[in-house]
Every structure is written in C-alpha cells, then in structure tokens.
Symmetry: C2
Subunit: 220 residues, 2 copies
C-alpha cells in the first residue's frame, strides 16, 4: 500500500522563510526586534523615543506593518530613519506580518546600512504571536489603559515575548488600574518575563529599554 503523504501544516511555509530571515540577520549581525501589541498601545511612540538616541551609536532601520495607511511610516521617516511600509491588505495576511513580507521589505532597505531593525507588527494581540518572522527579539507593548486582564486573555503573545514594555505609565494617576494585579497576571503566564515601565511623555523607562537592547545585540 502506498504511503499517504500528509501535507505540512500551513505555518510551515512561513517557518521555512523565517529560518532564512534568521540566517540573513545573523550573517549581517542585525538585531531584528519584532514589536507586538494591540491597536494603539504606543508602538510607534516607543520607536519615536528610541530611534534618535539609538541611532547616535548604531545605524537603525524600521519595517512598519499595518493593514492600511502609511501613517506610522511617515512618523518614522520624519526622524530620518530608513523605513519600509508593509500594508497587509495587499499581502493576504490582514491581521499580522509574515516572514515573506519581512524578506521582501528587507530587499528595499540599504543592504549593509543598519545594525538594529525594528519590525512594528500589525496592532493585534492574537495573530502576530503565531507567526515567526525570523526576528532576534520579540517585545510586547501593553498600555496601562488596556486593563489588568490582557496577559491572561491573550496568553500566547505574553508567552513568546522576551520583554514587556508597559506603556503610558504617566496616565496611572488618572486610572483605576491596579498595576500590581497586571504584573501578577503577566507573571502567571511567564514567570521570568522582564518588564519595563515606559512613558513616551515623561521619558520614563527609555534608558532601561536602550540598555536592554544593547545587552541583547550580537557580539562583534
């Protein structure tokens, strides 16, 4: 009897391309950081605080993911940072970025021009966490206005990230949020996840975040 060939699961094509991306990043000694969050958590504001300071020491570039518009890419370009916008409504995968999109975007960036690549994923706490892009680091962004319960409701994202930026902490005095309960919920999903309190308004956490990034760059 002939052996039945079982088709690979859908994600595998993405996984193969992600492995290619990972090799490209290693060869070129690029630290690729995949930023993931729900809509409006402040990913672009994090980048606006990060890029000018990081760029003084290391060349940087950005890939922006959105379903539609180039609004975020325009904010990055205003900082004089090379940026490519991916609009997923033309790429079939509406709610997240995929590895092939990253590879295509990479070809549009200066070939040896940067050491840090920030990938701003589509604003979504579900699908982005399911797709490997070949990135070096995964960073979650959660704003204090989103409530304490998000880590428990969207556990996969909090499980796959290497660092959590808790943003908009300048708003804490005006919210009923219980920050300790939020952090307990984070730890219940991933006990050892590092967390940085961040505010794009006051600058809180920016130094710590930059130190974390430098600490995770490849040697050489």
């Amino acid at each position: 009897m002939a052996r039945i060939k079982v088709l690979e699961k859908v994600l595998d094509a993405n996984d193969k391309i992600a492995a290619d991306n990972r090799r490209i990043f290693a060869d070129r000694r690029i630290t690729a950081v995949n930023l993931m969050s729900g809509p409006g958590a402040g990913k672009t504001s994090v980048l606006e605080q990060t890029l000018p300071r990081l760029a003084r020491k290391h060349p940087v570039a950005v890939i922006e993911g959105d379903i539609a518009t180039t609004a975020d890419a325009e904010r990055i370009a205003a900082l004089d940072v090379p940026v490519v916008q991916i609009n997923t409504d033309r790429l079939g995968g509406a709610c997240h970025l995929e590895a092939l999109g990253i590879q295509t975007a990479l070809a549009e960036l200066p070939p040896d021009g940067f050491r840090y690549l920030f990938i701003e994923n589509v604003g979504n706490l579900v699908c982005p966490a399911e797709f490997d892009l070949g990135e070096s680091l995964r960073v979650g962004v959660l704003s204090v206005t989103e409530g304490e319960d998000k880590p428990r409701k969207y556990p996969l994202l909090f499980r796959v990230i290497d660092l959590l930026l808790v943003t908009k902490v300048d708003l804490l005095p005006h919210l009923r949020l219980d920050l300790e309960r939020l952090l307990t919920n984070v730890r219940s999903v991933k006990a050892d996840l590092p967390v940085i309190r961040f505010s794009a308004v006051t600058g809180e956490g920016v130094d710590e975040w930059l130190a974390w990034l430098e600490g995770h760059a490849p040697a050489g």
Copy 2:
C-alpha cells in the same frame, strides 16, 4: 469534459449559519448587538453601565467572547444577567466569534427570557469585522487612549458598524489626543456613522446610548 466543481469560499458556511441566527432573532424579537473593539477599549465596562438600567425595562442576556478566561463573564454574572462564555481557543477561531458559536451559546440561554442580547466579541479590530454573526446591530467601541488614526488603519470595522462609542472620554484632559481629528478620520471611512462620547467613570453618554438601543429595537 466534466464540470469542475469550485468550492465555496470559506466564509460562506459562516454566512449560512449567520442567516439562520438572523431568522431566530427576528422570530423571537431579540435585538442582538455585536460589540467589537480592540483589546481593552472598554466593552465590558460599557455593558456594566448598560445592563442594570436596560434590564429595568427589558430582559437582557450576554454572550462573552474571549480567547481564554471567564473574567468578563464573571463581571456580567455579578450583575445577575444570564451570560454564556465562549472561549475561542477551543473553537478553532481564535481571534473572533463565528455564527456557529453564537448558535451554540444561544441554546444555553433561557429560551424566551430576553429581548436584548449583547455579544461581546474578542478584542480585535481586524477579524471580528469579517464574520457575520446574524446580529441585528454592530457597535464599535474605541477608547480615546488608542489614538486618532485607528479608523483609517482598520477601515473595515468602522465601515460595518451602525454606531461608534468613543469611550474613556473622562481621560481626554490628560491626553494629547485631538478628538476632532479622530472624528474626521471616522467620517472619512463612514460619513454618516453616529458617534456617542461615552465614559463608564462619569456616566457620560449612557442615556444617549440607551435611547439609541431602544430606538433600534424591533416593533411589537
């Protein structure tokens, strides 16, 4: 030559079940309201403000959609309102509710016990807008902390809704948000979309929202 049978697109199975749901709601004169938003926009807080007051005049029920946890269903049950929780991680459709889930949940609610059914979708600005549940009304919830650009970035959701609740307006004095720009972006996607400014903290907008709901109930 044999005719090639082309399979229906994936969404059609859902559309058929949604049509069944729509018939059930019409027969039982239930106003089914599908609440859609990103994570943490305040859908459950809207319901906490709505249900006790609406229930004085009409029996209500709730279907809660989440990937994981029963946190929101517990908040609703505390109001003594019949509630069914759908956890989508067990239903295959992780990032949104589908019509079959609604039909299954309906069977768990008191058969003739309510006139308003609120369906709190999974927190996500992308996928929920793509799946018809057979609902009577679609309501979008967007908090002022999410920024001005969301209607342009997630146009489908803003296009399919019948009303937008702009929540957390009590935080406006503490934000840099330009509310007029947000509303201009809403109108650029759907010119005639009604918008209600809402705060679960101050109660702003609750009367207007209840009046809107009553104005959209089926006659009889």
